[in-house]
Symmetry: C2
Subunit: 337 residues, 2 copies
DNA sequence: TAGTCTTGCTTAATCGTTTAAGCAAGCTGG
DNA sequence: CCAGCTTGCTTAAACGATTAAGCAAGACTA
């Protein structure tokens, strides 16, 4: 006598209870006027039948898919896991799914990726742009996570303030000769980090910048950065713009017989997966990705609900210094033991 | 006189051309009987109008969303970027989108994540299970990527063969005393890798196994693995089950003043993002993720089209040894210079 | 007691696509 | 010359949810 084996939908549940589909919809969504008694009965039956609303039908009717797109310049970046995890969590808390799109490191494909997402009907897109690429405004809410100094930025870590923390930390340890190591001078994020560091170096402190992509282009990808030479000429602090660079510096220096942190200190950024696992463990600066993701998703959801473009508040979320073992007093410092 | 500003859909395009929606649908999909002349006219108008079919409507009608789910035990695993990239590429080539779901490292949430995906209407799920967790069979096509020795496995790297490559390489270099470093003995993948290594060690070669998770649980997470002691007692080859462990070994040994690869060799697995960047660069074994992803997605797509469960061919995709700088002849070897 | 309001449900339209079925015209073969 | 096929299109019915509008009955107000 039961209503058959077909997958339960609103109509079948309604039929099995002798009410109209509209009433079932209202009961489950809590929207229309339904008596408590009937509503309870409906919920019970729906639960028992294992009813799952068809997202497709809902999307068709309401015009909202309940899915956000996530676009990254290069999905294979080591920071991607943390970002994806944070975004996925924030989105799923807000009731959204996350569709990923990869531009495989190719800037030209970034636009393709965005289009693929739009074709799939995403309600909004979280995008972390490649270097200085401009995001074309497509008719779809977007939240941009880049750096507070990027125009159109929605939210991001306060990389400048993060840089300041690094500088304050190393300066207070007694360091007076820095090498700042970055990848690419076109990156707003990297420039902010380096700018933040510089802004807190007292007069008389030396701080050159080494851009690794340029270096690699000139000397080959796996070449030595010549850091041991820098040590010989007095540098005691290597402040890197990313943990990947810090790791490269650490192993190169270790390999050259330079002791870390006894002789030199090294710091990184982002607290990547390996950073706590190496010996000595990396001192680094962490982004508050959960908060950044929440802010981005909230902005997006609000824009979707209001049918507007997301506010570009451009708030900078404070970064957090994680002091581990690669930073210490420089040699000859009175407090060094 | 144009058909208005509303977003173009089949009916509006049809109206503007004076044909029926069905004809437009047929023309664009190339399915029904439409004259070449009309079909061309329709395509031209659709292109000009920037027509995008509504995925929601199509999904509702056909019962297929064109989206695959991707479930990982822990999205923050450093291998995730490569996996996600490979799956996304394979899926998008096959015309599918990829929805991610994270179980945040919590096995209990793995099932939740799967349910979230099903609620969203995915057509199939690619799942990389956590350790030895059983995947409950939900009424939805799934492709499992784990290890050939896992029951229900769809496709994966041939970790055993990968292990054999490591062993052959190190043995041929002259190593006779091994320490095999793994994380967790419950992992099929890790056991396969270690088993493969062992299977190729000649008689008389020593090979103890160090399980790091157990070690950390006993001695604290950031504790030394005591590798220098192993070197003192004659070990010359450290074969790790992952690059993360290899990196930990490398930095610990470097820190202890042991020279790599002059005194000891180290190998890893997976060719993670940092592996080529450290000094000396890691010798490792890489999975053919594009091929694995393609196989998994193909199996899934086929199962979706045929409305069946994916074949559990359990094919093992060969791994590829990447020889870099952390492996060399042991000290005192005749061929060592 | 008549008028109005509230409650609790139903009716029916709608979102945009796919696709089986139908139909008229043109062609072919015996 | 007509039965039967092919061609090229149209008609119309889904798919499953949401939601505005409607309606009957009971409750309240004056």
């Amino acid at each position: 006598m039961s209503a058959g084996r077909a997958t339960p939908n609103l109509s079948r549940i309604a039929a099995s209870l002798g009410v109209s589909p509209a009433t079932v919809s209202n009961a489950l969504s809590g929207k229309g006027r339904v008596s408590a008694e009937v509503a309870n009965r409906i919920r019970a039956v729906a639960d028992a039948a294992g009813y799952m609303p068809s997202q497709a039908a809902r999307a068709l009717r309401t015009g909202r898919s309940g899915v956000l797109g996530l676009v990254l310049p290069d999905i294979s970046h080591p920071l991607f896991p943390q970002i994806a995890q944070a975004i996925e969590h924030a989105a799923s808390t807000a009731g959204y799914g996350v569709l990923i799109a990869d531009s495989r490191g190719d800037t030209a494909l970034q636009t393709d990726a965005i289009y693929r997402l739009i074709e799939r009907g995403v309600d909004g897109i979280v995008i972390i742009p490649r270097l200085g690429t401009r995001i074309v405004d497509i008719g779809c809410p977007m939240a941009v996570i880049d750096s507070p100094s990027t125009p159109g930025n929605t939210v991001s870590a306060d990389h400048w303030q993060g840089g300041q923390q690094v500088a304050d930390h190393l300066v207070s340890l007694g360091h007076r000769a820095f090498l700042l190591i970055g990848n690419n001078p076109l990156s707003n994020v990297q420039n902010d980090r380096i700018g933040g560091i510089r802004s807190r170096l007292p007069a008389g402190v030396s701080a050159e910048v080494l851009w690794v992509e340029k270096h690699d282009a000139e000397h080959g990808a796996a070449s030595s950065l010549g850091l041991a030479t820098r040590v010989a000429s007095g540098v005691t602090a290597f402040a890197c713009v990313s943990d990947l660079l810090a790791l490269r510096a650490l192993t190169e220096l270790q390999r050259a017989g330079v002791r870390v942190p006894e002789e030199v200190s090294i710091t990184g950024f982002d607290d990547l997966a390996f950073s706590a696992a190496v010996t000595p463990a990396l001192t680094t600066v962490r982004m508050d990705l959960p908060r950044i993701a929440r802010t981005a998703v909230d902005a997006l959801v609000q824009a979707i609900d209001l049918d507007a473009v997301p506010a570009t508040g451009s708030s900078g979320v404070p970064m957090h210094l994680v002091i581990r073992q690669t930073s210490a007093h420089p040699p000859g410092h009175p407090a060094a033991d």
